[in-house]
């Protein structure tokens, strides 16, 4: 690919690709961020995401509606998360073990749900088209030419940021994640808050999976999430549990992915494996530097993260 004619449209094309590659990470990462802010560590993101992909594709194919497919994907993620919530929040089971089991369960269930749909193709989710605006050269497609998933992901980032730092419910969620003993002593419903957060995270992960099978690559293939759930988990940690940083990290990751694909195609002479590792290295490096910059005396992570809570009553 020749790089000597860098026109605005090529830049736009690259940016559009970056945004679409980042969208599933944003959706799943923001969901997990809310879960972890409430003090629960759900390692089952990959499982909920892949089940969302299978269920989303199945529902969309059966009903012929991408919208219902997206709802189906989110619902499947939510149901799987509900199981996790019953175990870890209700029965105080170990969160790490339950989360890992959830991933394995989700991979298995998705194979079952998607068995009849392997090899089928659908049209990708429709893209926004505003006459005039979308056709603007250079920025039209970047701003006004995406599918609903992309806009939903961006709204989710802003919405969760606003929820966590501008609403009372968000304050309670953060308090529960910081010290469940203290918040319980104040009479706040620790387990209810955590269960709802787990459900929200599951729905987000399911929606992220549905985006993959309905919009990003509109078909179903087993294990098609290809580790994106794990990357979303890592993003949350390296983003210091800040929604805007999760979005930035996801975009960086998407950007590095697109960049290394182009670099491999251009034949730079570097080993392909090294280039494939580039997005991971770049994202980790950037977010580590970001979190180093503002170290204070308090704890960056939700202090109760991963600790089970069983009230005495």
């Amino acid at each position: 690919m020749s790089l000597d004619i860098v026109s605005l449209d090529i830049v736009q094309m690259v940016l559009v690709t970056v945004l679409t590659a980042a969208t599933p990470l944003i959706l799943a990462g923001i969901g997990e961020l809310v879960v972890e802010r409430s003090g629960v560590l759900n390692l089952g993101v990959e499982g909920m995401m892949v089940l969302g992909a299978a269920a989303g594709f199945a529902v969309a194919t059966q009903t012929g509606s991408t919208g219902l497919g997206a709802l189906g994907g989110a619902g499947a993620g939510l149901l799987l998360a509900a199981l996790f919530g019953v175990l870890t929040v209700g029965l105080a089971a170990n969160q790490v073990a339950s989360g890992l089991a959830l991933t394995i369960l989700g991979l298995g269930l998705s194979g079952l749900v998607g068995a009849g749909y392997v090899g089928m193709k659908r049209d990708p989710a429709p893209h926004l088209h505003l006459p005039g605006l979308t056709d603007l050269p250079g920025i039209g497609r970047l701003l006004f030419g995406h599918d609903a998933f992309v806009y939903a992901a961006l709204l989710l980032v802003v919405g969760v940021w606003w929820f966590l730092w501008r609403t009372r419910a968000g304050l309670i969620l953060r308090a529960v994640g910081d010290d469940h003993t203290a918040t319980h002593a104040l009479g706040l419903k620790v387990r209810k808050v955590r269960f709802l957060a787990v459900l929200f995270g599951g729905a987000c992960a399911g929606l992220a999976g549905a985006y993959l099978s309905l919009a990003y690559t509109p078909f179903w293939a087993p294990a098609m999430t290809a580790g994106r759930g794990w990357i979303a988990l890592a993003l949350v940690v390296f983003a210091s549990w800040q929604p805007l940083r999760v979005a930035a990290g996801a975009l960086l990751f998407g950007g590095a992915t697109v960049l290394q694909l182009h670099a491999q195609a251009a034949g730079l002479g570097l080993p392909g494996q090294l280039l494939s590792a580039l997005p991971y290295l770049a994202t980790i490096l950037a977010l580590v530097l970001l979190s180093l910059g503002r170290r204070r005396g308090g704890s960056l992570a939700p202090a109760a993260l991963g600790r089970v809570f069983a009230p005495s009553r």
Binding site: R168, R174, D178, D179, A182, G297, G298, S299
Partner: protein, 534 residues
Amino acid sequence: MAAASAAPAPRGGPTPLFGAYGIVKRFGAFTANDGVDLEIRAGEIHALLGENGAGKSTLMKILYGLLEPTEGVVTHQGDIVRLANPEAARALGIGMVFQHFSLCENLTVAENIALVMPAALTGRALAERIARLGADYGLHLDPARPVWSLSAGERQRIEIVRCLLQNPKLVILDEPTSVLTPGEAEALFAVLERLRDEGRALLYISHRLDEVRRLCTRATILRGGRVVGTCDPRAESARSLAAMMVGTGVSEVRPKSVGGSRGERLVLDRLTLPAPGLHGTPLRDIALRVAGGEILGIAGIAGNGQAELFDALSGESRAPAAGAVRFDGRAAGHLGINARRRLGAAFVPEERNGHAAVPPMNLSENALLSRHATAPLTRFGLLRLGAARALARRVVDAFDVRGAGPDPAAGTLSGGNLQKFVVGREILAEPGILVINQPTWGVDAAAAARIRQAVLDLAGRGSAVVVISQDLDELFEIADSIAVLHAGALSRPVPTGATSRAALGLLMGGVGEPETQTGEPPAAPAIRTAAPVL
């Protein structure tokens, strides 16, 4: 929580503001409260007295809606009410100041307060209310500060302000002075007396009998989950109150037998250490000498370098020069904890849970953790669990540590019992040097007496003991001489008999030694280094 049928007849007198009648609370086979009656009237400070494990906390939690009683009723102005949760209790005007503050460390002061406020009250309006109330009662707080950066006294102020913002009719205070300095405690008493004069009721839980006698007009005494008496604490002596709490007469500690003085055993020589972290206190030019058979008390307000001094003595932080810390004449400043233990020293840190003991581990495992350096508890790097269990058993027997089962997890013990275990574990090693930080913090009278006696007996056998404590009564009871730590600098030790509470209080506040004093003031200036300008 709606009012229901008529309440049981109050026992004489006007209808109490709040009453609890026939309260029974069982946890499995264990009965924490067994038929407890309590009446609280408006405009009184009512004391709830009892040892650790007497059922005070359970009763408080029932009144605040955190626990529901197995049997019995709670009444409000004569009507039976159901306190299903703390929200219901708050709606009735019950507020609580927790002993172990229920604050989220990583949230700000205002956020912690907003957690229990009506949803409409947020942001600037809330900050204004906090400031107004603070100015009114002298409880100043910066709403934007995160809680982790605040001292214990400031944290308690948050709890009190949070409680008062709800305009409570009844304020429950659980051991409110246990983490406060004498000055902070005086300020708290002034607030409490004002609340009483405003017609509010206060339920005051404390181990400190002189406080109870000063503040309270009625006391209910619990022992083993039952009410064993009510009285007017002003008409009782601290001794008679303690006897009611414990059931038998509390023995005053016996003075230690004189003897076994073996010259200087512990020496700190011009020890200077930088602050360990952003919120730590640097140690400035600290010098002290403790002889065998001597107990040196170190008084001071929390956060003036106690933790840093303890760390420097125990080896958690090393001295810049090896000779700055000397045990029995040997330089130990560069040594770690275990090496210092092998020189015959032992250490009891302030925090029981997580520093002195690992809560989820058994007592025998906890015995191993500090004693493996000095006792034959391992062989070829393998644990000798039988020997560890035997050692734990010896500590349990010698110090009357009560817990469930033969080798319970440390975290399941009550505070007093765990503290007896931790102190006993170190004292049974017969250390030549013992450093102990806040030996009886939050411990009931009987356990505290036992611990103090053990420390005195150890010194009587010729050991040098350093006791860091915020409890001046304790220091006057057991220490031979007392020095004051202020802003990381240590005053010259003064014999206990030659100083007074007032003189120490001035030093603790950073004010120099007053020239005129009863007794025999030391000739030299009391403070080696001037109080630093912060």
